[in-house]
Each structure stands twice: as C-alpha cells, then as structure tokens.
Amino acid sequence: MSTSAEAHPRRPESLVWLYLAVVGIVVVAMMGVGLVMRMGQAGLLQLSPQWFYRFLTMHGVGMVGISGIGGAAILYHFLSAHVDLSRKVFLANLIFFLVGAVLLLGTSLFAGYAGAWTFLYPLPQHSMGQWTPIAAALHLAGLALVGVGFLLFHLDTGRAILGRYGSLANALGWPQLFRGSAADPPPATVVAATMVLIVNVLGLVSGASIIVMSIVSLLAPAFTIDPLLAKNMIYVFGHIFINATIYMAVTAVYELLPIHTGRPWKVNRVFLAAWNASALFVVIVYPHHLLMDFAQPTWLHVVGQIISYASGFPILVVTAFGALTLVHRSGIRWTAASAFLFLSMFGWSAGVVPAVVDGTIAANQVLHNTQWVPGHFHFYLVLGLLSMFLGFALHFSSQRGDAVADRVGFWIYAIGGLGFTCLFLAAGASSVPRRWAAHLADWQGFAAAGSVFGAGVLVATILLVARIAVRARRPA
C-alpha cells in the first residue's frame, strides 16, 4: 500500500508558530508550578496547602489544555497538506483557549479556586469557604470555552475530511481494511485525524454536558447530580481528551521520522486495523479510572481491565514497532529533532507498562491515587507527548543543523524526565499518596530527588524553547 510520508519542506505557517509559542510559554510556566509543588512536598520550600491545591488545579488543567493545543498545532500543520482546513476556525480555537485559560488560571490565582482539573462533583460547591460558587462556575465556564474551541476545530477537520474522502469510513481506510480495496489508503495523518475527530467529539460532548450540569448546580444548588454519573462523565471526557492529544501529536512521528531515516511510513492493513481498534478502545477504556468505585457494576470493572490491556497493543505493536523498524540500520544522522521523535516513541511505549499494571484491578487496589498514577501519566506526557512537540518544533526551526546546546538539552531532558517519572512510580509503589500538600517525613526523599530531576527537565525545556524561539524567527 501507499506511503504516508513524503518530504515536508513546507514550514509551518505563522499561526502554527503562534500556537507553538503559546505552548512553549504555558508548558514552561506549568512545569515551574509543578516543580514548586514537588519541592513543597519535599519540604524544600514552604508552600501553604491553599497555594499547593491552587497550583495543583492550575498545573493539571493548564497542562491538559496546552497538550491539546500542541497536538492541534501539529495535526493542523500536517492535515492541511491533505485537506482544506479553515484557518479562521484554527484561530478561533486558539482564541477560545486563551480566553478560557484566563478564566481557568485567574479563578485559581485570584479567587482561590482549587477543585482540581477533574472537578469531581460536588467538590466545586463544597469549598468550605476557600472559594465562592461564582469562582467555581467561572472556572468551569473557562473549561467549557476551551472545549468549545476544540469542538470547533474537530468539526472543521471533519468537514474537510468528509469533503475530500466522502465518509469517515473511507478516511479510516475501511475499504482497504474490510473490502480488500486495492486503492491507495488514506495517509496516516488523515487516519489519525479522523480517529481523533470521532473520539474527541464524543469526549467533549460528555465533558460539556457535565460541565454545564455542574455550573447549573453551582448556581442553583437545588439541582443535584448523581455523583457516580458525574464521575463517569468526567472520566469519559478526561481520558479521551488527554489521549487524543497524543494521537494528534504522533502525526509528527509519522510524517517526520521518515524524512530523517529516508524510509517511508507505510499505511497498510495492520496500521489501519490498529487505529480503528484504538478508536474503539479509547472510548470504552475509561472505567479503569473507577475501579475503586465498588458501586459500579462489576462487568464495567472487568471491561476496564481487559480494554486497558488491549489498548496498549496498537501502540506497542504498530506505532512504536514501526518507529523502531524505520530507524533500525537506517544510517540516520541523528539530530535533536529526530532524537526527540525517537524518545517520544520510547516514552509512549514504555509508559504503557505501568499504565497496564495500574489497570489491573488487584494492583489498582494498592496503587490507585498513589503517586504511581502521576508516574505513569507523566511518563506518557513528559517523555512521550512533549518530546513529540519538541521534535516537531526542532525539526522546523533547526534546518541549518544542531548546536551542542540542542544535544545537551536533549540529554538533560531525557535523563531528567526518566528520573522524574520513575521517582513518582517508586513513591507510588511505596504507597505515597498523590495530591497531598504536605508529605510525611519518610516520603520526602522521593519528592526531593524528583525535584532535582524535575528541575533538569525544566532547565532543558527553557533552553530548547528559547533556542527554537530564536531560530524560528529567522527565514529558513
């Protein structure tokens, strides 16, 4: 079958760079906030519980939102080579995000909101005097605005994909997958965009519904929501949205790694089957977040575990393995960009292991809501997702070649990221809770060592973002 990747001499347009600039600023700021929290847990600085939980809320919602923005930037760049996307809608998404971010961060910084990015009902209205219902409602309104922007973005990708391919089934390669069509399959980026369109619209609708219900409940407390229903709806939204960020950003690997290795990324039936399976799995796997809610039907827990196992397959067997095949004995001349793209595949695939372990009910009973959880998702996000962002931005900003600083930045980032995440996992295995403002003395060693590695990640990110910013302004 066909190859998805031809050379991409086309540099990102100015709006994509604007997205990336926002990503750079917000990621560095939120990493700083995260480091302050970790240092507070280590006892290396004084951080009151009020500010710890505000920072926790800001860090969570900020990082999740900006992960979506980075993923959208990469997807827009590559997808616009195949279909006719609306630049205005793409700009609108960024504006919605920025307005939403002002509300999200402003309500935490200035109105004390600290309901965590998961806003589990009914915590937003039970602040015990820490914030007002209006502050919580404004915070949730900010989240809704961000969601509206993404919904518009995905609907526009849907419009463009339908205009070019006729149906979502065609864009997912069903004719090649199920009917043995010999026609060229859609490019990898189109398959990914279609999958993300389907799953993220479902997730965003669930998220928007529970956000609106929560806002109504805040303003009219007589209106109540079933807390278990609310939790289900929140995790449908949260799980799908954060996973979709990786599914958008991985197009950088599909499109750019072939350029660095001189080998094509083939879209074949295995690839199509994996992405179609992922579309299903990512929607139905969310019950693994509720394994400790014993009131849920047991069959949902069992589905959560089994699908957790199954959802790792497409990643490991197709994407990561495909990247390894592309690089193996390819004669690649490594750059910081290709190194980050390769690292991202490691982060994504290795992060599957502790995630699958946590998705096992017997293990979840002693790992859930310990630091094991931030351990496994930081593995995905620091080593996987952010490496995709950095690989993408470095590829298009350093076409005159690397400097020593880029390579030093890469190694500090990779080692720092690995140490930072593994210390979370080790702390989780030692039963250290997540989301605690103050840690007991015998837990503080994990946080102190994690702070050192986290500082390394922050320094490397600042260095790399600064270098990308300087070079991106020069003409290629």
Binding site: L123, V302, V353
Partner: protein
C-alpha cells in the same frame, strides 16, 4: 488468609521497572545500530515477522494475566464472607467517622463506606505505612470493602481522593486486636 498486598506492590514495581528497562534497552540497541545502513527491503520483512510474533506473545500474555487476576475480585466479597464484623464509615470534610474503633485480627471486617459531602478515598495503611486496601467514599452510595487483617496493631486511615484544603490531614486510625480464641478465620 494472608493479605498479599505487599507482594502485589512489589510485583507491580518489579514488572514495571523490568518492562521499562526492557523497552529502553530495545530503543538503545536500535539507536546504536542505526548508524549502519541496510536496505529497508531487507529490514522490513524481518521486522514484520517479529511484529507478528510479538503480537501473539502479548495477546497470550495479556489473556493469561487477565485470567489469573480477574479470578478473585474485591467487589463481591461482602456476600462471600460469613459473619463479618461490620464497621460503618462516614467521610466528612475533613475527618472520618467510624462506628467501631477496634476490630479483631483474622476475622473478616466489612467496611460500609459512604460520604456526607464530597468524594473521598478510604485507604487503610498498615503499621509499616503500606497501603493494604482502599475504596472510594462517595455521597449517595455505600461502597462495601472486606478486609481481613492478618496482624494486630494500629492501622491508619488516610484519604486518597482529593477533597479540599485539608485533604492531606484527613486521618484516623483503627486498632486491630489479637484474635479471640475460637474465632473463625477468613
């Protein structure tokens, strides 16, 4: 019955760090060999064969682990145990209310856990500050958790679901007393 949670945590860590190391090793070896140049037409068929085997291996491994670990689930133990000791647990911002302050070792204890305000996480830590069991505490629902304590001593109860400003200080304890002679084992 001995509660094997320490073993589970150690096993989880061992499997995870071994898996991460294995994946890291594969990536490092591939990166190290990437400087050699070999035609893709040679590399690709070999890789596809290996991928098929990997798929079968992961599928069989996943099915095996699922079959073993899904055999004994914590959800239906309340009906399975005979004559459990009942402890009603009510979570509040930010304290625990327990109907009993002490229980007996080796006798199944049925914790009926609820909340009057927001979501909390009812987590039991042993004397080594090791998490041995947990369940969510949620308004409007009662979650039933069965635990058989195998060692007498003081066990701590911590909150593992973020519940507001004093979440980290929401602690209680429960005494596990030496078993009374003739009591039924779990």
């Amino acid at each position: 019955m001995t509660i094997p949670f320490v073993t589970i945590q150690m096993t989880a860590a061992l499997i995870s760090f071994a898996g991460i190391t294995l994946v890291a090793g594969i990536f490092l070896v591939v990166a190290q060999r990437s400087r050699h140049d070999e035609p893709y037409a040679v590399v690709q068929p070999r890789a596809y064969r290996l991928r098929s085997r990997l798929f079968v291996l992961l599928l069989l491994g996943g099915l095996l682990v699922a079959a073993v670990t899904l055999f004994d689930l914590p959800y239906s133990r309340a009906e399975a145990v005979r004559d459990p000791l009942l402890v009603d647990v009510t979570a509040h911002q930010w304290y625990w209310e327990l109907s009993r302050q002490s229980v007996e070792a080796h006798r199944p204890v049925l914790f009926r856990v609820g909340s009057v305000d927001v979501n909390h996480g009812f987590a039991i830590y042993d004397g080594d500050r090791r998490l041995i069991a947990q369940v969510q505490a949620m308004p409007g629902y009662i979650n039933e958790l069965v635990v058989a304590f195998d060692r007498p001593g003081t066990y701590q109860i911590l909150c593992l679901e973020y519940c507001g400003l004093v979440h980290h200080a929401m602690m209680a304890s429960i005494e596990v007393l030496a078993p009374v002679a003739g009591s039924e084992r779990f």
